[in-house]
Symmetry: C2
Subunit: 335 residues, 2 copies
DNA sequence: GTGAAAGCGCTAACAC
DNA sequence: GTGTTAGCGCTTTCAC
């Protein structure tokens, strides 16, 4: 069995209460006692049992993070940003993968709750009925929604200005003279996707272009789904002259689809993607993208959560971070 | 306060012991009691407190994972593989980022231990004196080393056949007629890197090529470090005609370096990388790589850990997974 | 300033 | 089959 606070107390010749006070740095303890306690703690190799502490203090200094897919670089970066902030404040992040599936998300949230996390950050899966999230909120567990909003959940959210970002992307394409502009997105059940499609529509309207339902191609949440959706769009006899891909998996998919159809970019089809990755400047032509502040997203979510953990009981905040168009070659604008 | 097992027991008109047995599915309980208990549990919205359970059962059904950088797709895939296996067995994965730093790794391991994880998977950081790992082992916490071995730590390890993989890559280059072959790697303090460099050396020797120290360029653990190291190598007046990059960050770095020096691939410099990513087929020419079984690495580590968690007390196992050369265009072999 | 003692929510002997 | 009871390791009144 490992060393407990009783062992330390005994070795230091004090009570467990004094040992706890000395070690915890709270309450009163004489300098002498302090010294003796920390000395024997060191000697015995005492390590506090956070689980036992959590049982009484009702705080685990652990927070949960539920993402759709940690293999998506977007989530990986956000997770990193969150972990950095939380680590710096003594919290540990429990990570769960929901696989973009409502059922798995529910189970992940439950598993995290059972472990008494002090708070949670979740990237809601598409089609999730948000009961498990409202339950969290009513149970008083601080919750921050990341990247996607959920109607009916009174929680903080940290999102991207998707409408503006998408609008900038599509307006850029329209400005280059394109009239037939398609979009490849995953499910609009995800608010970020819905907003990007909305931005696409706004830009078309502003350019006086009538939207064509056939130019909107919706896929699932994986790279392969992105490729299939892009293929459907680009294989049409009346294929668009330009495509906006609403997330990085869709961008990969569009690039693959273009290649398999032997379409040149930007000559045969111009491309602007949402979300920037390190390889977007490695391909030829480099990909014009709307860059999201990925790590900031996680960091800001972490800071919001920390405020709540500190007791901030204000109304839910909705924070929006900017996404900026970076013009490179794939849109045909040179660069 | 939330619903406890006492509340459930009271509502069902039984003792907490019976309620626990009924809920936990262990020990004896009459069908009638079972039904009443689960009924009132449902009605009250009872959720077991895993923290309290852990305190007495000395098992948290939680395992820790410490990686160098979750933003590295290699680790993300391994993390995913591990999480999939553990989730399927009711375990939750606590993730910690060590930033490829020995100090942060130590703190991460400590934080995880304090949370009483039942086992741990760690990707050891370079230069870490392995005390915290040996401590883990002596404390009886099952440990599986992932991707990198550590001398003096009696733990299972799941590694890649790095020597053979690297040898195949470099032999391929030599077979294509290259005599001046460079390597870009991160620190050989990491056993996987050391092994890849060793494979490189073996292949040179087998091809009758004298190794030149100047053609071995060592960088740090980030993409930028990779670029700098590649730049040093490719900017030499007597630059190599072929380069082997020992991990995916180095491959990105080499590609960037080649571009900034206006070197054509494979005409001016041929390239073979270690670790395959989705964009390697998107760049022109597509990158010849040694593909690692990334998700399997995590899965196998998870299975090994599960065996230990089930009580397997056999001697440490060292498992090696194959890495295979995939010839594409960047080596100049056509494809 | 310090110690005794009462739990946090749960499990596991051990009687009955 | 079921209830009683004693903790798991820690924090925290409340006396002294």
């Amino acid at each position: 069995m490992s060393v407990t606070i009783r062992d330390v107390a005994r070795a230091a010749g004090v009570s467990t209460a004094t040992a706890a006070r000395a070690l915890g740095g709270y309450g009163h303890a004489s300098p002498a006692a302090r010294r003796k306690v920390s000395e024997s703690a060191r000697q015995l190799g005492y390590r506090p049992n956070v689980v036992a502490r959590a049982l009484v203090s009702r705080a685990t200094t652990t927070v949960g993070l539920v993402v759709g897919d940690i293999e998506n670089p977007f989530f990986a970066a956000a997770a990193r940003g969150l972990a950095d902030v939380m680590d710096a404040h003594g919290y540990t992040v429990l990570l769960a993968n929901a696989d973009e599936d409502a059922g798995r998300e529910r189970r992940a949230v439950d598993a995290l709750r059972a472990r008494q996390v002090d708070g949670m950050v979740v990237v809601p899966a598409p089609g999730a009925s948000p009961e498990h999230l409202t339950e969290l909120v009513t149970a008083g567990v601080p919750l921050v929604l990341l990247d996607r909003a959920v109607v009916g959940v009174a929680a903080d959210s940290v999102l991207v200005r998707n409408v503006a970002g998408a609008r900038a992307a599509v307006a850029h394409l329209a400005g280059l003279g394109h009239r037939r502009i398609g979009v490849v997105s995953d499910s609009p059940d995800i608010t970020s996707s819905a907003e990007r499609i909305q931005g696409y529509r706004q830009a078309l309207r502003a350019a006086g272009i009538a939207p064509e339902p056939g130019l909107i191609s919706i896929g699932g949440p994986t790279r392969d789904d992105g490729e299939a959706a892009a293929l459907r769009l680009l294989d049409r006899p009346d294929r668009p002259t330009a495509v906006f891909t609403a997330n990085n998996f869709m961008t990969v998919g569009a690039l693959r689809a273009a290649r398999s159809l032997a379409l040149r970019i930007p000559e045969d089809v111009a491309l602007v993607g949402f979300d920037d990755l390190d390889w977007t400047t490695l391909v030829q032509p480099p990909v014009t993208v709307v860059r999201q502040p990925v790590a900031d997203l996680g960091r800001v979510a972490g800071e919001r959560l920390l405020r709540r953990l500190e007791g901030d009981a204000g109304p839910p905040k909705r924070i929006r971070l900017d996404a900026n168009l970076i013009v490179r070659g794939s849109c045909g604008a040179g660069a």
